[in-house]
């Protein structure tokens, strides 16, 4: 296979990392909502933790983007 084509395929495959980020963000918001429905008075206090978890989960998917960029541009 041509190196150029293999690079493109590899960069595309690296985007699969976003599937994990999607699952993670869904779990975080879903569990926050179910927790908030059960105990609405405790929900406000956990909101910063929700945002922190969201940012951490989203960043994990973006590591895949970094891998794709390294494959495309660094080699």
């Amino acid at each position: 296979m041509e190196l150029e084509a293999a690079k493109m395929i590899g960069a595309g495959l690296a985007a699969i990392a976003l599937a994990g980020a999607g699952v993670g963000i869904g779990i975080i918001f879903g569990h926050y909502l179910s927790g908030a429905m059960r105990n609405p008075s405790a929900a406000q206090k956990q909101f910063p933790n929700l945002l922190l978890g969201f940012a951490l989960a989203e960043a994990t998917g973006l590591f895949g983007l970094v891998v794709a960029l390294i494959i495309l541009f660094a080699f």
Binding site: L51, L52, F54, A55, L56, E58, A59, L62, F63, L65, V66, L69
Partner: protein
């Protein structure tokens, strides 16, 4: 016409070329925007704290709010021992926040979308926290790598994993901020390109999408600055309040 979405991250020299030996230390657009955001912070907080009204005006309210926000964050995550490091974490948060936010202005430059900037910040934090840990606890700081209550059989494996996770801190801290900024700005440019290429007929859909994306990016710009600061607090917490 197709504009390269990576074009916005170009670094070019402003003014004369300055060389220190082999190293190029010329003034670039990146340094210009660092100076702009530092000046913006200085002006904001000087105006906000110059006259202390009993009933604060808008700028003073902003300064007091951000002070209270960071102060609460530090005491929640790192305890009262981290109080002396307030100034460092506050300026770190403000610098990252202003770099991210000024990058959201069209045609400006996002300083934090370059890995070298975020990596230097993260490496500085990592080295500083390690030095603080060794000063506070001496050789006992190495206990950080030996969690209590682990079966002796698993111990060698756990210690290796702990050391790797400790050493990967600066990498993950810097890549998180850099990748978020890079991906966000690239995505906005790509959707902006769709608006142009679809023209007046179909351009409305990506246009509305990019408006929503701008809102999301402003949220992400704030969140990533917050995450950067809170993770610094968590690392500092490990160094100050060593659990046995």
């Amino acid at each position: 016409m197709a504009i390269n979405p990576m074009h916005q991250f170009n670094i070019y020299r402003i003014g004369p070329e300055i060389k220190l030996g082999e190293v190029d230390i010329s003034f670039t657009n990146s340094s210009l925007f660092m100076v702009i955001s530092s000046l913006a912070i200085l002006i904001l907080f000087n105006l906000g704290t110059k006259k202390n009204y009993l009933i604060p005006n808008k700028i003073q309210l902003l300064a007091e709010l951000s002070y209270g926000f960071i102060s609460k964050m530090i005491s929640d995550t790192a305890g009262s021992k981290a109080k002396p490091y307030f100034a460092f974490i506050f300026s770190l948060f403000m610098f990252v926040l202003f770099c991210n936010m000024i990058g959201m202005i069209p045609y400006s430059f996002t300083v934090t979308s370059h890995i070298i900037v975020t990596f230097v910040l993260a490496a500085f934090i990592f080295i500083g926290v390690t030095i603080i840990g060794f000063i506070k606890h001496g050789v006992g700081y190495l206990k950080l790598f030996v969690p209590s209550g682990v079966p002796l059989v698993l111990m060698p494996l756990i210690v290796i994993i702990e050391i790797i996770s400790y050493l990967s801190r600066p990498v993950s801290l810097s890549v998180r901020l850099f990748a978020n900024m890079l991906a966000g700005h690239t995505m906005m440019k790509v959707f902006g390109g769709f608006v142009i290429s679809l023209g007046i007929v179909g351009g409305w859909l990506p246009l509305s999408f990019s408006v929503a994306l701008t809102g999301l990016e402003i949220l992400v710009a704030f969140l990533q600055a917050y995450v950067f600061a809170i993770l610094t607090c968590i690392y500092l917490n490990d160094a100050l309040n060593l659990h046995h």
